[in-house]
């Protein structure tokens, strides 16, 4: 039961965190200069966006949940199951970030879901 909650946190908080970070980075704007000093500047600009802080908090939650699950289950099960975040990701991209998710992309996401289901069935 506890492990189920941790999986939910990895997927939910992880995807939510990435969506927040994505939204923050879109506010920062496209990175065109890859010199170290410029990258440090990008980090500081990103940290001034409140979405970045929300994202970091959610991702930290997902990270510690991942550690908890990894102490009990194999990497080759845990990691594929967390691919369920793809559904959440496509939905979030569409409804939270206003991105257009093409039918082809939905088909790919569906294949990923089927793959995850097969991994879960073949778990033992």
């Amino acid at each position: 039961m506890l492990i189920f909650i941790f999986y939910l946190l990895i997927i939910g908080a992880g995807t939510g965190g990435e969506l927040c970070v994505s939204r923050a980075m879109k506010a920062v704007g496209e990175v065109k200069d890859f010199r170290p000093a410029a990258l440090v500047g990008v980090v500081f600009r990103a940290l001034r966006v409140s979405w970045m802080w929300a994202g970091l908090g959610l991702m930290a939650t997902a990270f510690f949940s991942l550690l908890a699950v990894l102490s009990r289950e194999n990497v080759s099960v845990v990691v594929p199951v967390t691919a369920l975040s793809y559904v959440a990701g496509a939905l979030g991209g569409k409804f939270f970030l206003g991105e257009q998710v093409t039918p082809r992309r939905w088909a790919g996401v569906l294949l990923v879901c089927i793959g995850v289901a097969v991994v879960i069935v073949g778990r033992r």
Partner: protein, 138 residues
């Protein structure tokens, strides 16, 4: 919509970094956590014990370093590419994690589990042929 060669090149370069360092980080975390073992974190004392074991593991710190590289590449790529493009494209990393878990951690992976991982990678291939950006910069 923007689809210049340069945009594609830097997108693929950063996604490659994500595909290498993400799985490596996961496998190192898995190795470190297996050594620590299942810890009850239901009580504050248990949670503290869990945290202190985590921060004193070198393997976990290596895993965290790998994941920071992954996170940096992920953040940069998200400054121009769509989230729903980057996330599935980088999911080749899921197959990579299973391979590394099998060969580095010697995990027994059933044929069915490999099949599932293969399906995940196929899903990624289908998604990979969609444009990297559908929203206007701004």
């Amino acid at each position: 919509m923007k689809s210049s060669a340069g945009l594609h090149f830097k997108t693929y370069l950063l996604i490659s970094l994500m595909v290498i360092f993400g799985p490596l980080g996961n496998v190192l975390l898995g190795k470190g956590m297996k050594r620590i073992g299942a810890v009850s974190i239901a009580t504050p004392a248990g949670a503290l014990d869990f945290l202190s074991r985590v921060v004193s593991s070198g393997t976990i710190w290596l895993g965290i370093a790998s994941l920071i590289i992954f996170f940096g590449a992920n953040m940069l790529v998200l400054s121009w590419a769509d989230y729903s493009y980057v996330q599935p494209a980088s999911s080749v990393a899921y197959g990579m994690s299973a391979l590394l878990a099998h060969f580095l951690l010697r995990e027994a992976v059933s044929p069915m589990r490999w099949m599932g991982v293969l399906l995940i990678c196929l899903g990624v291939l289908v998604v990979g042929h969609t444009p990297p950006r559908t929203t206007e910069p701004g």
